[in-house]
Symmetry: C3
Subunit: 337 residues, 3 copies
């Protein structure tokens, strides 16, 4: 019985804290509490820098609620120990206060939506298991989409922070940025994984990755850079590029393909690079697709592209592909045990 | 060979009539001909009260065509006996005359679309079987969506009864209703399961549920009430709430989760209540999602939410979860055998 | 090891040419190089007749890239031999130059997108295998949709040839066409399978089908005619009907249901005819669904309808349904071996 192991771990001081911090870390596939701590510091910095502290407190609330939900439903505790109950919830907690006005009911929505992600993740993983893929951050995407759309139909959770619904129209292409402008866009691409528009937060996130897995940090940086280059060459929207909105999904695709689901190697590195470029097109396409309702794509472009690169079960000659389910059943904790 | 049993049953007087009535009953999961009869009476009352008798005759036509299609394709007759061929068709027959103008070609569309639901149900159940879920009323939703969208592109089936396509925009929140206004909205929530906007029909439907399964009637009533409360608290559209449009999907979620797919108990009751609340947000979100094309959500919010609450295969300590496939392979008939 | 067989075949002169030509033929399920040759001739004729030669060269490029991708990824070579790596790529190569302006980056997009279809096909076939269905041309549809949507968000691949995004609105019904007008619409319905708006191309395509399989040619002709009749009776858009836009998906449904996935017979012929009619409604519906973003439906209506007619695993009394996977694992080559 797994529960007994958990109980023992929980008797240790800070068992729950570690579980929560790992939840934040797992957003970028790091089962590491220090990573999670640095991520949360980055979130708090970015949230207060943009005068919306609710995003940071939402992140904590979503993390706690989704993690507690896993325990309440007696889901397999091995997942919880590794932060796999919390990573969707922390994203819900970042997203809803970003897009919805700060009413009391918004906080109720954060609680319902982040709790929901925990069993939606279990359900979607059940669906995807036969093909050895994982639901990734899609439970967050799906549940948050419903609540963002609902915000357009409910005055108690006003759609204050959302774009106005519109038919796709003309826009300004990125051109002639300074080196510092490019640098900021590159770091913002990493920060936007948690919906934070701050290059400083990008540095915190890179540091958080580095303490857990230096390869992941390198690939996050490379993924954001390659995505930036692709978006500039194909002349996407200047505002979106500068805000890092072409970066966050490719960053996740890069980490997932290069460091989590395929063993490192030259061919898997090339495969991940192609994945990053494809994610940029999926991101551009989905930006257009969601315009008539004015909701955000969230990390859907990352999920879709990563699935498309995992489903063929390609086996590279120079690498042994690890079973895709490794991540879903969780990897060994890196901290404190 | 199942066919021979069927033949024997069909020799009995009224075998086909019973099969059709059960089809109407199965829309709310009741394998009971009296339930179906009361449902049809409610539909006729509501259709004529709103001066659109075509809805009632459409219901009968859709029911007959979809049930006959199951026989024509030699699908397993155990399903047909229990009304499982007909429940999608009866909904098609209510929906098309509600949204499409009364041309001769509209009736052809009812025939094609309701026949289609029978094998789409077989196909979708094949798809979903590995995860122990059922297509519920989604065959109706999917097929009807195609025809409603097509009505915008075909003059022979004019989109007379549909909302104009529009980008999501401002709306009036529900406020200050009288007790009788709330009572009517609560009963309309139940009536709208068959797209009927009449509180009297809601009473007929409750009576129909009660003759088959008193728990189902109680949960339908509770589901509509809890959905009404949620929609009011979150201040959804006044017009939609008054018309019962926030009620019909939660009513179905409540019956499904509390009385069909989980054994009754305190924890499954709580689970169903959470399901009802989540259905309201999914309904609100989908209302926005369909606005640019101006089609109705139909019962999609019920299907999606119920799947999300069944897929995790949660097992409550105090209840034994029945196998989810029970309903799909049909339950024992309650009448006349 | 399959690779060795392939190597032997490739030593034969024209091994690669045959593989590419079969790829063009497989768009209409014909594993026949002469068919592919006639299809390509038809494409070149139509492309130059409408002063957009890029479509024809795009077709060749997409075909070559997607086929080479299969080899590069060491996918099972039996598929490649039969042209199953190339049929999605050739469609990408027709579609992107049709809808996107002729910039250098458009050609880069053709290369990325057509390569992508090869492993997306492998992935989607893995997903669909349990239900004995095949991804058909959906890899082309999915990947091209992303790039068409992206074209609205990227100046380097301008959305020059696409409809403006719009809410569904009024349109003119087809009426009073001359016999030659109907004849042209009927042949264009076949030509539009490759997005070519030319009745002469329709003749080339019929000839291409006839050299491989006379039944397929007859069903393509019948499918286009029945779709035309249905669209006229239901009074769809005059412009769309005249351009053959109600024909191409039903043509593919007809070939698939009547000649590929079910053994020929009276009942499967009726089944295919119903499938053609249903495809027209799905086409009309999807035309409306895509209007707010202004992208094309591509062959999605064919894929969706064909799946809905295969998933129930209906078995007709007078015919033996061949295993649905036959096509996905490939059929015997008809030429030159």
């Amino acid at each position: 019985m797994e529960f007994s192991n958990t109980t023992i771990e929980n008797r240790k001081p800070f068992g729950w804290v570690r579980m929560l911090l790992r939840g934040a870390g797992q957003v970028m596939f790091q089962n590491n509490a220090w990573t999670g701590l640095l991520f949360l510091v980055g979130i708090f910095w970015g949230a207060y820098a943009s005068h919306n502290g609710a995003v940071a407190w939402g992140a904590l609330l979503g993390l706690a609620v989704s993690t507690a939900t896993g325990r309440l439903l007696s889901l397999p505790s091995a997942d919880g120990e590794q932060g796999l109950w919390g990573f969707n919830g922390v994203l819900v907690g970042c997203a809803l206060p970003t897009f919805i006005g700060p009413t009391a009911w918004m906080w109720v929505a954060v609680i319902i939506c982040s709790a929901l992600t925990t069993w939606v993740r279990t359900g979607l993983n059940n669906v995807m298991r036969p093909w050895k893929i994982n639901s990734l951050t899609f439970p967050f995407v799906l549940c948050t989409w419903f609540f963002l759309l609902a915000a357009r139909a409910m005055h108690s959770i006003p759609d204050t922070g959302m774009s106005a619904p519109a038919l796709p129209a003309a826009f300004t292409a990125f051109h002639g940025a300074s080196f510092t402008g490019l640098l900021a866009a590159w770091l913002r691409g990493i920060a936007q994984v948690f919906l934070i528009d701050s290059w400083v937060t990008g540095l915190f996130f890179l540091a958080g990755l580095a303490v857990s897995n230096i390869r992941a940090a390198v690939w996050a940086a490379a993924g954001s850079a390659l995505a930036l280059l692709t978006a500039i060459l194909f002349r996407a929207s200047a505002g979106d590029i500068a805000a890092g909105l072409y970066g966050f999904s490719p960053v996740l695709t890069a980490i997932a393909l290069a460091t989590v689901f395929y063993k490192p190697g030259l061919r898997s590195a090339l495969w991940a690079a192609v994945g990053v470029v494809v994610t940029v097109f999926v991101q551009a396409g989905m930006n257009v697709l969601v315009e008539p309702t004015g909701i955000a794509t969230l990390t859907a472009p990352f999920c879709i592209t990563t699935w498309l690169f995992l489903l063929p079960l390609i086996r590279f000659d120079d690498v042994q592909r690890p079973d895709h389910t490794d991540w879903s059943v969780g990897r060994k904790p890196h901290l404190g045990k």
